[in-house]
């Protein structure tokens, strides 16, 4: 990056590091941090939306729908998350390709599953074989987002389901006394009130989501774990002008510190947010604030 980097062998240790840490591959490493943050920013609202639908269907009055919701919540939480990640990446990909295959190539006569192969016609491939590199990458990324949303949607559904039940029954009764329909009472009374009850669970979920981001690595995304392994491995002078031994330990130490700092910052922010939201609420937290102010 810097002009004096053309011959790294002449540099002192400080200069050497300033060059080493600004090489092109290191830039990709830093970019992958953005990738992780982007994943968090996209997944959190999507998962919340999925969770909302899950909670709504779980408390639905239509029995089969409520079974679907409850099974979804119970199933995702009863199985190790990593198994879901590994499962969904292949399953979603195959589901998409299978659907496209049925629509785009109706006159295909061979079976799709031939022993260990999964064969669809060329037009149904996702992404198309001729697509540029960035399409492949963003396809992989969106698969990851959907997987995260499905898994975390179940956790969020559970939190929201609990929060909906925590809203005092009298509130709904009052709404019914005013002649509101079931849907009106839900949207006008229940939904605005449930967030205070949901926030502790949701902030816990956010922490969990942060800590689940290294699993991106398992989904085949070139994320921070991937780059830490790549960059940290032993480099010989033959292939690079920055040879070094096995530094993976230090790279992962850096990731560890990154996550600790991220967790700490989130904790502080969420604590403040909770303080804001409980202000003036008729909960034990709000009561404690009132007492402290006196």
């Amino acid at each position: 990056m810097f002009s004096y980097c053309s011959d790294p062998e002449t540099l002192g240790s400080f200069g050497w590091f300033s060059c080493y840490l600004t090489t092109g591959v290191h830039m990709s490493f830093y970019l992958s941090f953005i990738k992780v943050l982007l994943l968090l920013a996209v997944t959190a609202p999507v998962a919340l939306g999925v969770g909302f639908w899950g909670a709504m269907s779980a408390r639905s009055r239509i029995i089969p729908l409520s079974w679907v919701g409850k099974t979804y919540i119970a199933l995702v939480r009863g199985v190790p998350d990593i198994a879901f990640f590994l499962f969904f990446v292949i399953a979603l990909d195959q589901a998409f390709e299978w659907t496209r295959h049925k629509i785009l190539c109706p006159d295909w006569d061979q079976p799709i599953r031939q022993g260990a192969d999964f064969l669809v016609c060329t037009q149904a491939k996702l992404p198309l074989g001729s697509a540029p590199q960035w399409v492949h990458e963003s396809y992989g990324f969106s698969l990851a987002v959907i997987t995260f949303a499905i898994v975390f949607g179940a956790f969020a559904a559970n939190v929201l389901y609990g929060a909906m039940r925590a809203v005092p029954r009298e509130q709904i009764e009052t709404a019914e006394a005013y002649g509101m329909t079931h849907a009106q009472a839900f949207w006008r009374i229940l939904v605005p009130q449930m967030w205070v009850y949901a926030l502790p669970g949701l902030s816990n979920l956010w922490m969990v989501l942060i800590k689940a981001t290294p699993l991106l690595f398992l989904l085949g995304i070139e994320d921070i774990v991937y780059w830490a392994r790549e960059l940290g491995g032993t480099k010989t002078p033959k292939f690079t002008s920055y040879p070094h031994g096995d530094w993976r330990m230090w790279y992962f130490l850096f990731l560890l510190v990154f996550y600790l700092a991220f967790t700490r910052v989130s904790e502080v922010v969420l604590e403040r947010l909770m303080g804001r939201l409980t202000h003036g609420q008729a909960t034990s937290g709000g009561e404690a604030q009132r007492k402290a102010a006196v």
Binding site: R77, G78, F87, I90, N158, N204, T213, M249
Partner: protein, 268 residues
């Protein structure tokens, strides 16, 4: 080949007994069930051992965190923050490379780079930190009346802790601790997906499930089998911990007992 033959060949494959080569093609359902089930041995090994050893360390950590002495409190707080604040996945990676480097300097550390010891240590520290936080919360919510009664009997120090504080702490913490146990078992699946190598293809349940999914490109058989095994283990833990919960609460009138509530919204 009959299914009984398969069970004999691969039933203990994950610990290196039986057929050396894994099946290569034309996988039968029986092979799926047997190999993934055989991998469960490792999940149970990691889960049970980490849970058992972690329990004692967690008690010590919780007491240290609740202590008035700075020199005890601060290290405990830091330890808990370190292991609860970072992803288990990264902890595994870091620990593996740390042990690898140490092995280069001191040969004593060579067994630590194997999963059976290295990963166990990470899981032990991790579960101890999570459990300590649960126990610490329980310690702080011990009813004042209980400790007052202990004082009235003239108890102090070790007898007071052993006979009053500790049982009450366990009783209050038990439902949350049950969840922790379930999640620890789920977390054991991460071991062979972080850097710890599965030596001679001796892996855990997920390792074999992933092996089948990679070979057949069909995730719809191995992963549901894995899920079934894990749901079975989860139910077993719930039953086992339920019995202990009953015993911890046996002196209380029914309505004051701590109910088991399963709030499975944790992950590492």
């Amino acid at each position: 080949m009959s299914c009984w033959q398969t069970i004999q060949d691969y039933g203990l494959r994950s610990i290196g007994i039986g057929e050396r080569l894994l099946p290569k093609e034309n996988f039968t359902l029986c092979e799926h069930f047997t190999l993934i089930g055989s991998g469960m041995i490792w999940n149970v090994y990691f889960g049970a051992l980490a849970l058992f050893t972690g329990f004692f360390f967690a008690t010590a950590l919780a007491v240290a965190k609740g202590s008035d002495n700075r020199w005890l409190r601060k290290p405990a707080e830091w330890f808990i923050f370190l292991f609860r604040g970072s992803p288990l996945f990264i902890q595994f990676f870091f620990a593996y490379f740390l042990f690898l480097n140490l092995k280069g300097v001191i040969p004593f550390f060579s067994p630590f780079t194997a999963a059976w010891l290295g990963a166990l240590i990470v899981l032990f520290c991790n579960t101890a930190a999570y459990t300590a936080e649960i126990f610490y919360g329980a310690l702080r919510s011990i009813p004042k009346g209980d400790t007052d009664a202990a004082d009235a009997y003239g108890m102090s120090g070790w007898p007071r802790f052993r006979r009053i504080v500790w049982p009450t702490m366990l009783r209050l913490a038990w439902p949350a601790y049950t969840n922790e146990a379930i999640f620890l078992f789920h977390a054991t699946t991460l071991v062979y997906f972080s850097s710890f190598p599965a030596w001679r293809q001796k892996g855990d349940a997920l390792y074999y499930a992933n092996y089948f999914a990679d070979k057949t490109f069909n995730p719809f058989i191995p992963y549901p089998i894995l899920a079934m095994y894990f749901i079975m283990v989860t139910l077993l833990i719930v039953a086992l911990f339920g019995v202990i919960n009953k015993r911890l609460n046996r002196h209380l009138p029914v309505e004051r007992r701590v109910r088991m509530r399963f709030r499975l919204n944790l992950m590492r």
